[in-house]
């Protein structure tokens, strides 16, 4: 009996290992909630949460471009740059490749409100050109990636920069923005799909636990990459 239990334990571990190996190449999608995945009430809910931030960002953008029309071009190019980054494969600590989000760097460079609008447009492009994410789930995805990510990055950067350790600030901003995004995504999924036993909290542990395997190394990778880029940019 005891032997059987150990065997089945090993079986579970093997199964999960296999699952993660499979899951790894799919990280491109992992931070996005697919079209149709959220029940309608949650899709609507996240749209409602997302819109005020978006409109605020839009207002500050409009003011900015009224004063200097060329800003429009700069922001458009920055958006294209962010989109291309998100399509770029970067090496992940676990070995295979993964995708950076670029929201950390963007928030530090342009400020979180502007990045909210840009990030949303990037998500829209991903949905429309690559079928990553979706239209009805855009509210939820934009909330986690284009609002929480940039605000966390900006707050972390502002908090650490007075200590004078700029590289650490950049690393933490980029890495924690990624982490925050993935935690919020897990929460969104947990709210939509509470576990039969243990409810939302148990469900959150499941989603967060599984994403952790791919997203934590990715967050570290993105942090490192952002620091590298920052070093080169500052040097020249």
């Amino acid at each position: 009996m005891k032997k059987k239990r150990i065997l089945s334990g090993i079986g579970v571990i093997l199964l999960f290992a296999l699952y993660f190996v499979w899951n790894e190449p799919q990280t491109a999608y992992a931070m996005h909630i697919m079209e149709g995945f959220l029940p309608v009430k949650w899709a609507v809910f996240w749209w409602i949460v997302f819109l005020p931030f978006f409109l605020l960002g839009l207002r500050s953008l409009t003011k900015l471009t009224k004063e200097k029309p060329e800003t429009k071009l700069l922001l458009g190019l920055a958006g294209a740059f962010t989109f291309v980054l998100s399509a770029l494969k970067i090496p992940s600590v676990t070995g295979s490749s993964s995708h950076p989000t670029g929201t950390g760097l963007g928030a530090v460079l342009f400020g979180p409100l502007v990045m909210t609008v840009l990030g949303t447009l990037v998500l829209l492009f991903q949905a429309l050109l690559l079928a990553h994410g979706g239209l009805t789930t855009l509210g939820a995805n934009a909330f986690s990636m284009a609002i929480v990510g940039p605000f966390v990055a900006y707050a972390v950067y502002r908090a650490i920069i007075p200590t004078g350790r700029q590289r650490l600030a950049i690393f933490m901003a980029a890495a924690l923005a990624d982490m925050a995004t993935y935690i919020v995504t897990s929460l969104q999924l947990a709210l939509a799909f509470p576990a039969a036993s243990g409810g939302i909290a148990a469900s959150f542990m499941k989603f967060a636990g599984i994403f952790a395997v791919t997203q934590v190394p990715l967050a570290i990778s993105e942090g490192l990459l952002t620091v590298l880029v920052w070093n080169w940019l500052v040097a020249y």
Binding site: E35, L77, V84, L88, G198
Partner: protein
């Protein structure tokens, strides 16, 4: 570098049908999927596939691989929903379960059912999304957005982004090729540094592009507006409109019938 979905959108056989009509249809079906139940999902998936493969003439092989990729991803997202972890032995019927220490790990019949329903709903809404992506070129979508009164700042940003997404993809592809040709991409640190260099170079190129573009557009009389005249096909096909409306009504009836 090209993006496959974008390229197909410019060559599909429904291209010359009014984008408004197609967008309305696609979004309408998407909303319907979110509000309806499983039997209707299956019907929608089949019907949208007929639109995409039959009417828009998207090659079956490409469509299958697109759906396949999404399917694999969806299948991988399902285990967290099916698997339950509890300290108590499961009260509901299970398909299998393990005991690991003091924890019970099990998959319940109810969980599998829920996952199956979710899978079908996702697939059928993805087919609606694909209908929009594969039949409406982005430029025409932009024209529709302009017409329905999306703020100018957004459409302008989308215009610039769309134009330069491809320029930058090209740049990044070329830089990557050059790194390969010069023996790059060896080991983790090597790959990391290469990726960092790529991003840095792309960033400086982006700033250069910005300067060039400001000058280039100033020479063409840029004063803050990016207005263009879009040539958008306006032909509303009666044949397709009829099928869409009748089909939609049948679907609503079907949903009402099965969803009670």
């Amino acid at each position: 570098m090209r993006i496959q979905l974008d390229t197909i959108a410019y060559t599909n056989h429904l291209r010359h049908i009014s984008p408004g009509q197609k967008l309305l249809f696609g979004l309408g079906m998407l909303a319907f999927v979110l509000l309806s139940h499983t039997p209707a999902h299956v019907v929608v998936f089949v019907w949208m596939s007929v639109w995409i493969v039959g009417y828009a003439k998207v090659p079956v092989r490409i469509y299958m691989s697109l759906i396949g990729a999404i399917g694999v991803f969806l299948a991988l997202s399902l285990p967290p929903i099916m698997v339950e972890i509890s300290r108590h032995s499961p009260a509901e019927p299970t398909i299998f379960h393990f005991v690991a220490g003091t924890w019970y790990i099990y998959v319940s019949v109810k969980g599998v059912k829920a996952a199956g329903i979710l899978l079908l709903r996702s697939l059928s809404s993805v087919s609606c999304l694909y209908f929009i992506l594969l039949t409406i070129p982005f430029t025409e979508m932009l024209a529709v957005l302009r017409r329905i009164g999306i703020p100018e700042i957004l459409t302008d940003l989308l215009l610039v982004m769309y134009r330069f997404v491809f320029v930058f993809l090209e740049t990044i592809g070329q830089l990557w090729t050059a790194q390969q040709a010069r023996g790059g991409g060896q080991g983790f640190t090597g790959k990391m540094r290469d990726a960092g260099r790529l991003v840095t170079r792309l960033f400086t190129r982006t700033l250069q592009r910005y300067q060039q573009l400001s000058v280039g557009l100033a020479a063409r009389g840029f004063e803050g507006e990016l207005r263009v005249i879009s040539h958008v096909p306006v032909s509303v096909s009666k044949r397709y409109a009829t099928e869409a409306i009748i089909g939609f009504m049948l679907l609503v009836t079907f949903e009402w019938w099965t969803g009670r």
